[in-house]
């Protein structure tokens, strides 16, 4: 494929545009000003289908579905011209360009999203620009998925499974943690996966969580934990697995058994209508039954799962105090990841699609403690 035929308007993007236009009409909003960067690329991707890598970008989305894309990196602007049909502007001064665009558009109601990340230079002129907070207009659209979007999440999940097999094969004594990541990235890029959220843990009881690679060398008996989160056409799917370098010890097997039980309990609670809180409680109750309730607190773990889609860690966060109800076609991961005081940090989790009666699991890998 070359630049001239790189413009693919996906069915998922067409579905998103329809939903966005309907939401704007219902909220009586004329234009949306959407911000994005490589960290929070989701809102911008939703509205423009452009996956930003360098710099910052703003998309001005009109109610008729047309988009002007302002990007402050010239190479990104060139790529956006090749990949999208939008009007694309390289704006060295993003704030000035956006202001000019809004003022030229006249007296119309503009909603910005995600508002908390909008450049201050725009937010401080909110009154003059008739700019209000439109975050809540888009967040529900990011959480729920149209069938056209699920195609991409399914594909990302399948690639995550294949990626994990490569990870497992490469996890040999003497390998450095960043070399494992390099092999995964080689595979992902060769499959057209543009992004991957991935952290890793290597070692035993001293490991309290996962982080980027630090140069640790794998040795026999190490637990190797990872979250693989490949991004396909903008959509992420996540896989959490733990392996042991060599053969797992009895203690490692037994400890991991509790995580399998917790994941099963969490998944059994999933169906449209239940809250994220109920799923978290089902997972955490397993730990409490084993006398390890302390290890489901924020001291040891962040969340017990989360939504996933155009952002690798979106709402709803699966926590006992999150009352957001799950809806059919929501994509999420359930993962009872935490520290186990006898063996160290363990992870296990699968991306699922919420259904009216339960869930559809997207990974075909066994939910087992692997060995390399």
């Amino acid at each position: 494929m070359t630049g001239a035929d790189a413009r693919i308007v996906s069915a998922a993007y067409r579905a998103r545009i329809d939903d966005l236009r309907r939401a704007m009409e219902a909220a009586d909003i004329d234009r949306l000003l959407i911000y994005g960067n490589n960290w929070h690329a989701d809102f911008l991707r939703y509205a423009s289908d452009f996956g930003i890598v360098e710099g910052q970008g703003l998309a001005l989305f009109e109610r008729d579905g047309s988009v002007v894309l302002l990007l402050d990196d010239p190479a990104e602007a060139e790529r956006a011209r090749a990949e999208t049909s939008h009007e694309v502007v390289w704006a060295g001064n993003l704030v000035a360009a956006a202001k000019d665009l809004l003022i030229r558009g006249g007296n119309r109601r503009v909603a910005g999203a995600p508002y908390h990340l909008l450049p201050y230079g725009l937010a401080r002129n909110a009154q003059e620009l008739r700019l209000s907070d439109g975050t809540e207009l888009i967040e529900p659209l990011l959480m729920g998925k149209r069938p056209e979007e699920l195609v991409h999440v399914r594909r990302a999940a399948a690639i995550a499974d294949r990626g994990y097999e490569i990870f497992r094969a490469a996890a040999r004594p003497g390998t450095k943690d960043y070399e494992l990541v390099a092999e995964i990235e080689r595979f992902f890029r060769s499959e057209g996966v543009t992004e991957n959220f991935m952290i890793i843990g290597v070692g035993g009881r001293e490991v309290r969580g996962m982080a980027p690679p630090s140069g640790k060398i794998l040795k026999d008996g190490d637990l190797v934990t990872t979250e693989l989160t490949p991004c396909v056409d903008g959509y992420y799917a996540q896989l959490c697995r733990t392996l042991v370098v060599g053969q797992p010890s009895e203690l490692q097997r037994k400890s991991f058994g509790m995580f399998q039980e917790a994941l099963d309990a969490g998944l059994a609670a999933v169906r449209a209508g239940v809250t994220a809180s109920e799923v978290a409680k089902a997972e955490n109750d397993v730990f409490r039954r084993y006398g390890l309730g302390e290890y489901v607190t924020s001291e040891y773990t962040r969340v017990r799962g989360h939504g996933i889609g155009l952002f690798p860690d979106q709402k709803p966060q699966v926590l006992e105090d999150v009352a957001i109800p799950l809806t059919a076609n929501m994509t999420m991961i359930v993962h009872p990841n935490t520290y186990h005081p006898e063996v160290g940090y363990l992870v296990l989790g699968d991306t699922i699609i919420v259904t009216p009666d339960g869930y559809e699991a997207l990974s075909t890998l066994p939910r087992a403690l692997a060995s390399s």
């Binding site: 790189a6 704030v95 201050y120 092999e183 890029r189 991957n196 969580g209 982080a211 690679p213």
Partner: protein, 349 residues
């Protein structure tokens, strides 16, 4: 996200060097009557905080307060569980893990009776962070201090030059040793893997698969077979130091000598002591017509941003000590692209 090797070492970035950078900034703050400087970081805009502390977040965001005197404070939305990791890659400053970094910085300012601070790139700061930073009723006065930061940032030291040179050596190595073929996606993945296997912190590979059709560097999802001549752009970070290299390759043997001559002229231009000299060298005595050029540098929170370009004005009009010059040329009807760094010598301390 950052998922390559991330680590700090005294040999690469001595604490004394960070101390010198901070001291220069603190002296500048003092001279302007500012109680401190607040800087923002995330994976898209990590450079300023990395310059002062060595730290780059792998995800999420954070704010660094450099008071006019005393220890810097880094407040981040990364959870407390990763504070050990942050400490391992950020050798100086206090760390505060909080879901509201700006509120934590505002508290610190109040504790230290600081009523007025500078902010790097105020207009670009995330709106919610500014609101929290100013505190209730606008208790903290803020002003843009981008120029002040630049005055400090543009003084290069040996540590920075050494890291950029290493990053550039790695980039050149990857671009000369990768497995060539006609599958652009495979080439991109091989280049990226080589860089990561050698310890790169971040790697961005773009391929312009057919220079006769487009000027865009595409990512792996849009890549297929390359055309008769194509260009590869490798952007690479090593311990927070970024470099870009672009090369043009031809599958047409007849065209290769022409491209080789252009490459040689470009390499000579990069050996200049400054970007303007390099650009001038390209505009005179280049075996083809230069159709566009840009100069990028790290002068604020961006790893690389355009500071000068053909047919326009960049973000900065002064001389930058380390830059990346990119050029596009017409070689008798064939498009050619290249990029690489231009580095000055470090002045004596």
């Amino acid at each position: 996200m950052r998922r390559g090797l991330m680590g700090w070492s005294e040999a690469d970035l001595p604490v004394a060097v960070l101390g010198q950078r901070l001291s220069r900034l603190q002296a500048a703050l003092e001279s302007k009557g500012l109680g401190g400087l607040v800087l923002y970081t995330n994976i898209a805009r990590p450079a300023a905080v990395s310059f002062l502390t060595g730290f780059t977040p792998y995800w999420s965001e954070g704010l660094l307060l450099v008071p006019a005197s005393g220890e810097p404070v880094f407040a981040t939305a990364l959870s407390k569980r990763v504070s050990g990791w942050i400490r391992s890659v950020m050798p100086i400053g206090a760390i505060e893990n909080t879901p509201r970094p700006a509120a934590a910085i505002a508290r610190k300012l109040a504790e230290q009776n600081i009523g007025k601070v500078g902010v790097l790139e105020l207009d670009q700061f995330p709106a919610a962070q500014v609101a929290l930073l100013m505190g209730e009723g606008g208790a903290i006065a803020i002003e843009d201090a981008t120029a002040l930061f630049r005055s400090v940032r543009l003084r290069v030291d040996e540590a920075e030059i050494a890291l950029v040179r290493r990053a550039d050596d790695l980039a050149r190595h990857c671009l000369t040793t990768f497995n060539r073929g006609d599958d652009a996606r495979r080439m991109a993945s091989d280049i990226e893997a080589r860089a990561r296997l050698a310890g790169a912190e971040e790697v961005l590979v773009g391929i312009n698969p057919d220079l006769s059709r487009s000027g865009a560097f595409l990512r792996s999802d849009r890549l297929g077979t390359v055309g008769r001549y194509f260009a590869i752009r490798l952007s690479l970070a090593l311990k927070g130091s970024w470099v870009r290299r672009t090369i043009t390759l031809s599958r047409d043997a007849e065209q290769q000598p022409q491209f080789a001559a252009a490459d040689a002229a470009f390499a000579r231009a990069l050996a200049s002591s400054s970007a303007p000299t390099a650009v001038k060298a390209l505009q005179h005595g280049f075996p083809g017509r230069i159709t566009a050029w840009t100069v990028e540098a790290s002068i604020g929170s961006y790893p690389l941003e355009v500071v000068a370009c053909s047919g326009g004005t960049g973000a900065f009009s002064g001389i930058v000590p380390i830059s990346v010059v990119s050029a596009e040329a017409d070689l008798n009807g064939a498009k050619w692209q290249a990029a690489g760094p231009v580095m000055a010598e470090a002045p004596p301390e």
